[in-house]
């Protein structure tokens, strides 16, 4: 079956680039933990377990190769977070970057928010391609001249230099979360953003670091009565008063900040009744939502739980309008997946630019795309074997029945250590970034 993409059922995906070490022995610090395109798609940021952020920039399309959209090359690398120690609780705070969110660009510089478990930072990424030369009191190498030797005056001028990209932390938003931060989301007002941990959501002003407003608090007075936690949160893309948060029980609550300061009472509750046929020992925990994303239009939102992707119309709370099975063949294997911890994997999901296709990851370095319009889905693989430039990705098939056809992969031979948790789709073009454990694959639509 042809690939899914952009409303055209004939989209085929080709390998474009892969970033990261070829080594099979993965250094833990290199494990990619988040991937995010900026609003124009020109920049692609990744965060890793070692607390680093690497930003790739798309080269402008060359006239020589109109078939290819520009390649992504390293633009900036910086250490965003360092490991810290909470002395009060005797706990180490991991430097792993949980999320990166770009701010809409307002001037020449780019801004992004990056967060680990406890602290959010606003980074400014700016270019410097000229430097002043011709100072009167300083030599070119910076040494100060003896003022007595200065006999003439000149006006310093800017001269071009090699491009330097600088990343500097402009704000540090710390000490506002008792539990582990799982989400950040920039508001459409471009002035505020939210950060969510397991039990609370805080609202920040981007300019103010020493205080935040708590807008959701689901911590019970008696912690033993805890039955659900917040798993993800996001602002509506257009309505600056609206945000949603998902829970470990598979529900989504939509809140309106105009209603009250503390949004504990939701405006809408999205919940699908459980299918009694699917009830099993583990069905409660696989309903935990690992990601929630609004469509670009703001009309829909998508949730990812362990086995499926659901699309909800924000006007209908009773059930999703579409449900896509990501890897239903795993339903009979939940016990083993619990034992090897895979059942706790938090897969993310993403929309394409015009909200016609959604994508999410799976195991064995497979990722899945679901075309909403054409009702087609495809399984593709990110692997070094398929990494010849511009080679077309062949759809993969998993054999679930008894008989395994040629080219099909049996469920038992899936590698559960190779998981794709983070994927991102260029906001405008059919370019996708897919993160395996320590490699970042970039695929593009095949252009003729």
């Amino acid at each position: 079956m042809a690939g899914a993409g952009g409303g055209n059922s004939d989209v085929q995906w080709c390998f474009s680039q892969v970033k990261g070490a070829i080594d099979d022995d993965v250094a833990e610090a290199d494990i990619i933990s988040t991937v995010e395109f900026n609003h124009s798609g020109e920049l692609l940021a990744t965060g890793d377990k070692g607390g680093r952020v690497v930003i790739f920039q798309q080269e402008p399309e060359s006239k020589n190769q109109p078939q290819c959209r520009g390649e992504y090359n390293v633009y900036s690398t910086f250490q965003s977070h360092e490991p810290e120690f909470d002395y009060l609780k005797s706990l180490e705070i991991e430097e792993k970057i949980n999320k990166i969110r770009w701010l809409p660009q307002k001037n020449a510089a780019q801004f992004l928010l990056s967060t680990n478990d406890k602290t959010i930072k606003l980074w400014k990424i700016s270019e410097r391609d000229k430097r002043p030369e011709g100072y009167n009191l300083k030599e070119e190498d910076g040494r100060y001249r003896d003022p007595n030797t200065v006999t003439t005056l000149r006006v310093p001028v800017f001269r071009p230099m090699d491009l330097m990209v600088e990343a500097s932390p402009r704000r540090v938003f710390a000490n506002a979360h008792t539990y582990h931060i799982n989400s950040i989301s920039v508001n459409s007002d471009c002035e505020t953003y939210l950060s969510a941990d397991d039990l609370r959501i805080n609202l920040w002003n981007l300019e103010i670091t020493d205080r935040s407003f708590n807008i959701v608090d689901i911590k019970p007075t008696n912690m033993e009565e805890l039955t659900e936690v917040i798993t993800a949160a996001e602002f509506h893309p257009n309505q600056c008063n609206t945000f949603v948060y998902s829970s470990s029980k598979g529900t989504i609550r939509m809140c309106d900040m105009r209603a009250s300061a503390l949004c504990d009472k939701y405006a809408k509750l999205f919940e699908e009744p459980e299918d009694p046929n699917n009830r099993s020992f583990f069905s409660e925990i696989i309903s935990s939502i690992s990601d929630v994303k609004f469509s670009h239009s703001g009309r829909y939102m998508m949730t990812r739980d362990y086995l499926s992707v659901k699309i909800w119309d924000i006007n209908m709370e009773t059930r999703p309008v579409e449900t896509y099975q990501v890897h239903e063949y795993l339903r009979s294997k939940l016990c083993s997946l619990y034992e090897n911890d895979c059942i706790f994997d938090k897969f993310e999901c993403c929309w394409n630019g015009n909200d016609s296709v959604v994508m999410t990851g799976s195991y064995n370095n497979f990722f899945r795309m679901f075309d909403r319009g054409y009702r087609q889905d495809v399984t593709l693989e990110a692997s070094r074997e398929n990494s010849k430039p511009r080679s077309v990705l062949k759809p993969r098939k998993i054999s679930t029945g008894g008989k395994r056809k040629k080219d099909e992969i049996s469920v038992d031979s899936l590698d559960f250590n190779k998981k794709i948790l983070h994927t991102a789709w260029h906001p405008l073009d059919n370019i996708i970034a897919v993160a395996t454990i320590n490699n970042l694959y970039i695929f593009q639509e095949k252009l003729n």
């Binding site: 706990l91 409660e284 016990c335």
Partner: protein, 181 residues
Amino acid sequence: MSETTMEVNTEARRILAVSISKLYSARTQRGGLRLHRSLLISMIMRSARDIYHSARESEGPSGAQPTPEEPMDAGAEEPAPPGPQPEPQPAPNSSEPFADEPDATEDEGDCEITEDKENLSPARQSRKRRGKASAAPDFLPSKRARLEPGEERHAAPPGSCRVVPWESLVALSLNRVIPAF
């Protein structure tokens, strides 16, 4: 016991053992205990424990086979009162990290698993242990004192019900997991 029940039992016990080891190993991981994950594991443990007990109960009181005290069987049947049910009894104020409790295992320490005894309806307040060939010694109060960290329960008198040590471990693990946050 029927074969299926035995299988279910074994499976439930295995899952419980796996869950406990996950909780213990979570203590040493970087970044500290993760609330979400701990909650999911404790949910699994609760379900496994419920399945285990209901499987044993479905066998009926077998008479010859002394079962561990099962106040929680009754608890499991009860319609859920407000508040969690069956739920671990309030643990000691534990802001301490996940405590070491492999010591306090042996006996029929199941009281802490289940009902809030204060709020039981009178009809339910039967202190009879079901299906036990050798009843609990009379001198043991049915209301159990809370365990303080590090405290041990007195060992069960010999010849008492065949108690699975890990069951109390489960109960204590559930007691400690979430309140530790």
